[in-house]
Amino acid sequence: MRRLGATIVVMAVVAFVVFSLLYLTPGDPAAILAGDAATDDDIRRIRAKLGLDEPFFVRFGGWVWALLHGDLGTSIFTNLPVTRLIGQRIEPTVALTMCTLVISIAIAVPLGVIAAAKVGTWVDRAVMAFSVLGFSVPVFVLAYVLIGTFSITLEWLPVQGYRPLRDGVWEWFRHLVLPSTALGTVYIALIARITRASMLDVLSQDYVRTAQAKGLSSRAVLLRHALKNAAVPIVTVIGIGIALLIGGAIVTETVFAIPGIGRLTVDAILRRDYPIIQGVILLFSGVYVLVNLAVDMSYMYFDPRIRY
């Protein structure tokens, strides 16, 4: 409960800081809305209509009051409620994030475990080489290579876009394969390295030697004893990964034209659509805090010595 209380305080601070920063940032949505040909007078009148000429505390107070009533406001440009815009974008981002995580964990954890078990051999070196490559190749380069190969040459998968689950699981999945692979490579590299390092640390512990001396199979030692005890740093990295993926999928969303939260945020920043920026950042901060909370809670399962 104490942690949940702290979460609310953190989000309140974030809300105030974000609002203040946006207030101070150069840029005028009224000027953008009016268009290139507008005059000073046009912009002044639009600004007045939007209430952008009101003092900081009046605007902040109005926003907080609406927020307390569950209203994140309305986009200055589209006139659509911010909740609807976020609602439209949340599914693609969550789908992309989850698909990427599943692919990353499914590939990276076994790779890390195998590399640790075969430390110093060519298998270990191959995994580490792949890991360096995964870190080094920019997401957009990999994305173009994947599009060129699987969409243009082989014509197996679509180039761009997102299909919601209601259009059918196959269509939904087909549109996620390439973006998830492109986005997941760096996380595969990261999680594989952390898994290997953490496993190597655990494998040198006395209790592992004891388990081996008792005659347990290597597989049982690795998976039942070592991996569970090596899990704390791995879970931490995965937790950070979730948070980073939600906000950091912007390049992937742009290249594959996926209408996700990342693009919504960047578009809103470029147009100074304040209600959207405030709403999305509040959402991000909530997700970050909750993911961290979940990660902290999971420590108690993986390492019963940890108590809060």
Binding site: I32, A34, A37, T39, K49, L80, V159, V255
Partner: protein, 529 residues
């Protein structure tokens, strides 16, 4: 055997599967045109903004009383017949039969009057018409009247204005909205209906054929003539990354790409299933705009110095990548249109004269004041021009620098009237499409109304007088002469420097036909086989 409690699950799954398959069948039966627009549609109100993407959306859902054809002739569109009194002070308009809004309501005189009233509060030509107007009145539901205080020869041209802001006709209930408030209801009487529930800003806009629309019988020509819709559904798919857009067109996931970036023209031209064509023959004009309130460009000689240096060919290549994608245009009015000429253009033509430019700078008394070019790196057309201008200024030893940001920052900063040391600016670049520069009425950068003028705020009473004389020109010959006088003054006062015309072609797949050659991508008449 299926256990009883599993039966509902199986039924639900089967129903979902069937629904999914059925929706696929429905779409497969429809002719869906997938169009990659030049920008993302954010604002639905074509009166609240001059953004071209919103204008294009306007052409999808709204109709106009009159429209301009490819020969710059005004043609009736929603209007069936009209009469002009002998003293040219009274215009009586009658609407065509069968005009209906998307909500099923008939288009009435009151809708037209309210729409023109709202438009004339925002548009410069509309304001000019409003100045000359005594009143608008409804004679009946289908007939309405415009009474003028004084003859206004451009009345019909104003109502047929092809580019932003276009006098689109909306239902009265919407057109009554404050002209400075952004409307959210896209109900029009045009050939397409917007499906607002499917609108995902930043990604997709969906339109369906308006089956109630009654097209005119004439062949389409620009925005005039018969607006016959030949597809069931149009999806605007916004793809922010141009390489992905090219791949989508190559793979057949899109049918038409409105504006091709120059570097991708050769890539798509290689595909035999894709046609790359210049739909917009007028192209767009790049320009250098000065701050007239602050040194050094508050001095006419400094602006004139740059006229002797600008090499339009360099700018065309910088913007469009290849000289084939543009051409120099030594006119303040859109080249290839009736008022364009090279009158007064000598300083901008021929071999560039660095010595003359240096001499003018010296005569201006330039004291080394810092020149700040505000740049938007997210706008390639603006960025390319900024870099070229900086290079040019440095060539004659001016103390110039670029201050880069995004477009949002640029258009905010350009409203600052202070000196550069206090956040002001000296130069910015932008561009306008051909129809926005065809005559002194729509060509707003040449205006010299000081504080009321466009950013840069030039004060030039001579220009305003010449412009007024053009408005009052009674016939085509005197209109041409008056426009020449305006241009001669522009080359003397230098409100902007035109940096050349460029064309961004359209690419479409071979199963597409019927694209209308016009400065706007109009999607009626387009067929998909």
């Amino acid at each position: 055997m299926i256990k009883p409690f599993r039966v509902p699950c199986v039924a639900v799954t089967a129903a979902l599967l069937a629904a999914t398959l059925m929706s696929g069948v429905v779409y497969a039966q429809q002719k869906v045109l997938k169009f990659i627009p030049q920008a993302d549609l954010r604002i639905l109100d074509p009166i609240a903004t001059t953004a071209y993407i919103t204008r294009n959306h306007g052409y999808m859902v709204y109709d106009t009383l009159f429209a301009m054809d490819e020969k710059f002739q005004v043609k009736p569109q929603m209007i069936d017949k009209w009469e002009i009194s002998t003293d040219r002070l009274t215009y009586t308009f009658t609407l065509r039969d069968g005009l209906k809004f998307h909500d099923g309501q008939p288009v009435r005189s009151a809708d037209c009057i309210a729409s023109i009233d709202r438009w004339s509060k925002r548009d410069a030509l509309g304001q000019k018409l409003a100045e000359a107007t005594e009143n608008w009145s409804a004679v009946s539901d289908k007939t309405f009247r415009l009474k003028l205080k004084k003859p206004f020869p451009l009345a019909l041209e104003a109502l047929a204005k092809p580019s932003s802001n276009v006098p689109f006709i909306m239902p009265e209930r919407i057109a009554k909205t404050d002209a400075f408030k952004n409307i959210e209801d896209a109900t029009g009487s045009g050939p397409f209906k917007m499906v607002k529930e499917e609108w995902v800003p930043g990604s997709k806009v969906v339109y369906v054929k308006n089956t109630d629309y009654v097209p005119r019988k004439e062949a389409p020509s620009w925005a005039s003539g018969g607006k016959v819709v030949k597809v069931d559904r149009v999806e605007w798919i916004y793809i922010p990354d141009s390489a992905t857009a090219a791949a989508a067109l190559n793979a057949g996931e899109a049918d038409i790409w409105e504006q091709l970036p120059p570097d991708l023209i050769p890539v798509l031209a290689k595909n035999k299933d894709i046609t790359v064509k210049n739909i917009d023959l007028l192209g767009s004009m790049g320009m250098i705009r000065f701050n007239f309130l602050q040194p050094p460009f508050n001095n006419q000689k400094m602006r004139q110095a740059l006229l002797y240096m600008v090499n339009q060919q360099d700018y065309v290549i910088g913007i469009a990548g290849d000289p084939k994608n543009g051409y120099p245009c030594m006119s303040y009015f859109t080249c290839g249109t009736p008022l364009s000429s090279e009158v007064g253009a000598e300083p901008l033509k021929g071999k560039r004269d660095l010595e003359k430019a240096k001499q003018l700078v010296k005569e201006s008394g330039y004291k080394g004041e810092k020149i700040v070019i505000i740049d938007a790196t997210d706008q390639p057309i603006v960025h390319a021009q900024s870099l070229l201008t900086l290079e040019m200024l440095k060539k004659i030893g001016l103390n110039a620098e670029i201050q880069a940001g995004d477009w949002g920052t640029l258009i905010t900063r350009r409203s600052v009237k202070e000196p550069v040391e206090k956040g002001g600016w000296s130069i910015f670049h932008t561009w306008l499409v051909g129809p926005d520069m065809v005559n002194p009425a729509v060509n707003f950068p040449i205006r010299g109304t000081g504080e009321k003028a466009w950013f840069g705020w030039p004060t030039d009473p001579v220009m305003e007088e010449l412009r007024e004389a053009w408005f009052n020109a009674p016939d085509a010959a005197s209109s041409k002469k008056a426009a020449e006088a305006v241009q001669r003054r522009a080359f003397e006062f230098v409100p902007i420097i035109p940096t050349g015309r460029f064309i961004l072609p359209t690419a479409y797949r071979s199963n597409i036909s019927g694209l209308i050659i016009a400065p706007i991508n109009l999607l009626w008449n387009v067929e998909k086989k």
